[in-house]
Symmetry: C2
Subunit: 280 residues, 2 copies
Amino acid sequence: MADAYSGKGTLGLIAGGGRFPFLIADGARKSGLRVVAVGFRSNTDPGLPACVDEYQELRLGQLGKLIDFFKSRGVDRVLMGGTINKARAMDIIPDFRGARLLLKLGGKGDDALLRVISDELASEGMPVRRAHELIPELLMPEGFLAGRRPSTEIMADIRFGWSVAKELGRLDIGQTVVVRRQVVAAVEALEGTDNAIRRGCSLAGQGAVVVKVFKPGQDERLDLPSVGLTTIETMRDVGAACLAVEAGRSLFFDREQALSAANRAGIAVVGVSDSLLAGD
Amino acid sequence: MADAYSGKGTLGLIAGGGRFPFLIADGARKSGLRVVAVGFRSNTDPGLPACVDEYQELRLGQLGKLIDFFKSRGVDRVLMGGTINKARAMDIIPDFRGARLLLKLGGKGDDALLRVISDELASEGMPVRRAHELIPELLMPEGFLAGRRPSTEIMADIRFGWSVAKELGRLDIGQTVVVRRQVVAAVEALEGTDNAIRRGCSLAGQGAVVVKVFKPGQDERLDLPSVGLTTIETMRDVGAACLAVEAGRSLFFDREQALSAANRAGIAVVGVSDSLLAGD
């Protein structure tokens, strides 16, 4: 793992919104890497340029420009991190290279798009790496992390939500479901996790369970499910009982703050794995 | 078909909200049947009792009472129709017989619940019939019913949405998806079709396609997908391009008004069948 990042080299960072690109930039520079980043208007935090060695702002879809910029700066590995405003992403105006990829793609979900971009970068000598190799402390751990240990009823909702969310992930729709008493109250698609949580919990009433999973067939380098303090705050506001997130293949931001907020609000946080589901 | 309704007999009508129970009551009385109805507070229209021979209001979950009432009135066949406020339905307080069924069920989706109720009624000599046998003019016809004939792009979205909605139906989650450019913008769960349409179209932008299908494995007697004037009005308000609904196994209320509203708004309405999907 370490050899992907140690020593000399130049990391190309494709930066969406939020704090994640900062954490990547920080980790990379601590490892001795130069960091060359591209960001996107109304997605990427305007503070990022100050935290990297070089920066260029692009529009979504300017894949040709992105590749030219990275190549001209000697990028030899790439990480992607941070949120992209997907609603806006529907209005992408691709450049020639981006358009060729979209054509090849013929209209598929997020995963397919990211994978094709990743293949294109690799073919230019800039392989896409897994961000959590650089900052493994972000990975969701396994087990009961906050709140009271879930009741049998909540565990049943976690199991049920897990199987439904995995099916939805297989269809490349979304990663999150809100369930209560084994009824699916909300399914996330384009609206994002927090909106799905708000909707599902207000429909299901107090005590709902939020389950977020890694999509089967998804590429771990490209778009891991992530939760953080905001997730817990949203859940607290709408009376949710439990957050269950796939361990080992999800990112958990602001972990300490999030766990103490969860403890204060009485929200159980569970890092779910097959072995945890098999047990109990 | 006709013999299910013709001649003497007493129909037990389990009435949710909206106009559907009125249409059933009307059709049944025209066929010479007595109509004995149960309704539910904050679901069933308060005007219904005046349109049936006998009426009793129950709480959701009072299955024992429902069966006793129907049996004491000589009910020999049952229809279900109209919407149930599912959000409220999460707070059902079952009577003894209802609770026994819920226990047997162990937490499944709508279909399973309705099927178990239907089996219970049948075991008491009150088989549940298909409402559209009584009022076949409510069934969604096949073909291009309003608006311009869909473009190739819209047809591709209909095909894509159809396959996704069928998968979601198989999981017993919901019947409706909103898609644009073969991206799933919204998936319906507990919030209802109109809310899913509003959300999906506001995320996807102008030109989205709404696809509503019969759930595979669902029982045609129990809960057919339905659309009507309100569906078209909602779509008009949020700039949707096309409503595609499974033909032959969905209900289309207020058809004439809905189709002229769709024509005025430039919304294509398509009654979808396998053969229509195979063609074009």
